[in-house]
């Protein structure tokens, strides 16, 4: 089957590994990701903070392009892009005036018919049906991930249908368990890493990440797993700084969910760019004899 695919800016830059892994894993599940043409930035949090019109209009242009593909569903792996796009679609469905004003500027008009999905909405049913485990050659034995969802996968600034439990989502746990890993039960799975605060309000972001790190370590996790490129990058890139400032001895690799699925499917870790993490991610897999 074919799904429309919106990678977003991160997956074309610092989180290219996630783009590569998504394509590899989905292809193996018989899903071809069709990247929508000439997409633009969703505006992320910056648009919401600075301009109400652009916060809706920027994702709207992508929704118009996606509607024109004729495909029924678009998957967006980045939590921030997913959230902004879903919020824009919802807002336009109940504000025809705004929709007309935006459509005036667009070659491909927003119709609002494509279903916008996050990566877990696509993967989770395939985990419960046994399809993912059926393609997996390796059990992820010894892997104890703290499944880290962050903010934007389950919390929205308006009423939308949330597909997982808002405070205690289980999508990643379901997938990890189906692959033989033992996800830990922990308290910070939907807490905020600070996102761009790591750049513009660094002390605040380090406080937030220290709470996340401390709880994951205390619960006996030996790695994190995430679906969001912003969460993944922050906890990966700033982990050393957090650990030094808050006196933490352990370092935990921060995997994307696609990385764990890919490893169990027997994909080459270098081809999946697992060696590009800022906190070493290869060591644990070798230690557990998973690669």
């Amino acid at each position: 089957m074919e799904l429309a695919y919106y990678p977003g800016c991160s997956l074309h830059a610092s989180s290219q590994l996630y783009d590569v892994q998504c394509k590899m894993v989905f292809r193996n599940l018989g899903i071809e990701l069709k990247e929508i043409e000439d997409w633009n930035c969703c505006g992320a949090t910056a648009a919401a903070k600075t301009d109400d019109f652009l916060a809706i209009a920027l994702p709207a242009r992508n929704l118009g392009i996606a509607d024109a593909t004729g495909l029924s569903e678009m998957v967006i792996p980045c939590s921030s892009c997913y959230s902004r796009t879903l919020v824009s679609q919802k807002r336009l469905s109940c504000d025809p005036g705004l929709k007309d004003a935006i459509n005036e500027e667009l070659g491909h008009k927003v119709e609002g018919k494509i279903k916008v999905s996050n990566i877990l909405e696509v993967l989770m049913p395939r985990a419960t049906s046994g399809e993912i485990a059926g393609k997996a050659h390796k059990k992820l034995e010894g892997l104890k991930p703290a499944c880290y969802y962050g903010c934007l996968l389950t919390r929205f600034p308006c009423d939308v249908d949330v597909t997982d439990d808002v405070e205690n989502p289980q999508g990643m746990e379901t997938i990890c368990k189906s692959l033989g890993a033992e996800p830990v039960d922990w308290s910070y799975k939907t807490d905020c890493c600070g996102a761009s605060a790591s750049v513009n309000d660094a002390d605040q972001s380090l406080i937030l990440m220290s709470r996340i790190m401390k709880d994951a370590v205390a619960r006996g996790a030996n790695c994190f797993v995430s679906t969001c490129p912003l969460c993944q990058f922050n906890v990966d890139a700033y982990q050393e700084q957090v650990a030094q400032k808050y006196g933490l001895e352990k370092r935990l690799p921060v995997y994307f969910i696609t990385e764990l699925i890919g490893i169990s499917m027997g994909f080459d870790p270098v081809e999946m760019q697992v060696d590009r993490h800022l906190t070493d991610a290869m060591g644990l897999l070798k230690e557990l004899k998973l690669i």
């Binding site: 800016c9 074309h12 830059a13 610092s14 989180s15 290219q16 000439d38 997409w39 633009n40 930035c41 505006g43 992320a44 949090t45 910056a46 648009a47 919401a48 903070k49 600075t50 301009d51 109400d52 019109f53 652009l54 209009a57 920027l58 242009r61 004003a101 935006i102 500027e105 667009l106 070659g107 903010c151 934007l152 389950t154 919390r155 929205f156 600034p157 308006c158 009423d159 808002v166 807490d191 905020c192 600070g194 996102a195 761009s196 605060a197 750049v199 513009n200 309000d201 660094a202 605040q204 406080i207 937030l208 890139a237 760019q273 060696d275 590009r276 993490h277 800022l278």
Partner: protein, 203 residues
């Protein structure tokens, strides 16, 4: 942290409430100060001002406090407050609105770096249609450096360069830095949306 005494102004209370409610789409009058939002706010400890208190400022018409407090600037838009609110008030939409009103009133941001980052992000996106990390960071770092230089804060500039250089080097080593600029072909369409946003300001 002890909170400041808020001022009640009957006339300004009505107009402030109306403006914030309209722009944010939130019914602030539904707040009965249960403070569930405060309990879940990840930056509440550092800001001293929690979402419930921000709503109170607006209801009392204390415009000065409402437009210029740490929560408006440091809010990380995690949407925990709105998700837990029993009356479905999305306070993060209120902080977003107050931040925009603060900018429109030309008030000095309490956290200039946060304001500069969001503005740099939007400028970089307008230019290429997509956010390029290198271009965005260049705009942001230049702006903050100029400000620090004007206030004679050279130590902060050196620290920032050191930190960013260190992260940049690690990213280069791990092939996480992408030098090729990613851009939209139909930039005119993206720019038209920006133009429309500017025309609609205050409407």
């Amino acid at each position: 942290m002890s909170a400041k005494t808020l001022q009640y102004e009957a006339t300004s209370a009505k107009s402030l409430l109306q403006e914030v409610a309209e722009r944010s789409g939130q019914n602030l009058l539904a707040c009965y100060q249960c403070r569930r939002c405060a309990a879940g706010c990840p930056v509440g400890e550092e800001t001293g001002v929690t979402p419930d208190r921000l709503i109170r400022m607006v209801l009392l018409g204390d415009k000065e406090e409402a437009l210029s407090n740490l929560l408006v600037w440091k809010c990380v838009a995690c949407y925990t407050c709105g998700t837990r609110c029993p009356n479905n008030i999305q306070t993060a939409r209120i902080t977003e609105t107050l931040k925009q009103m603060s900018k429109a009133a030309h008030l000095e941001p309490l956290r200039p770096r946060i304001a500069d980052f969001h503005n740099a992000f939007m400028q970089a996106t307008e230019h290429m249609g997509r956010f390029n990390e290198i271009e965005g960071m260049r705009i942001y770092e230049t702006r903050t450096a100029v400000k620090e230089m004007k206030s004679g804060n050279f130590g902060a500039i050196v620290d920032e360069i050191k930190n960013q250089a260190k992260l940049g080097m690690t990213m280069m080593k791990k092939k996480r830095m992408h030098l090729k600029a990613d851009q939209v072909k139909n930039k005119a369409e993206v720019k038209a949306l920006y133009r429309k946003a500017r025309q609609g300001k205050g409407a």
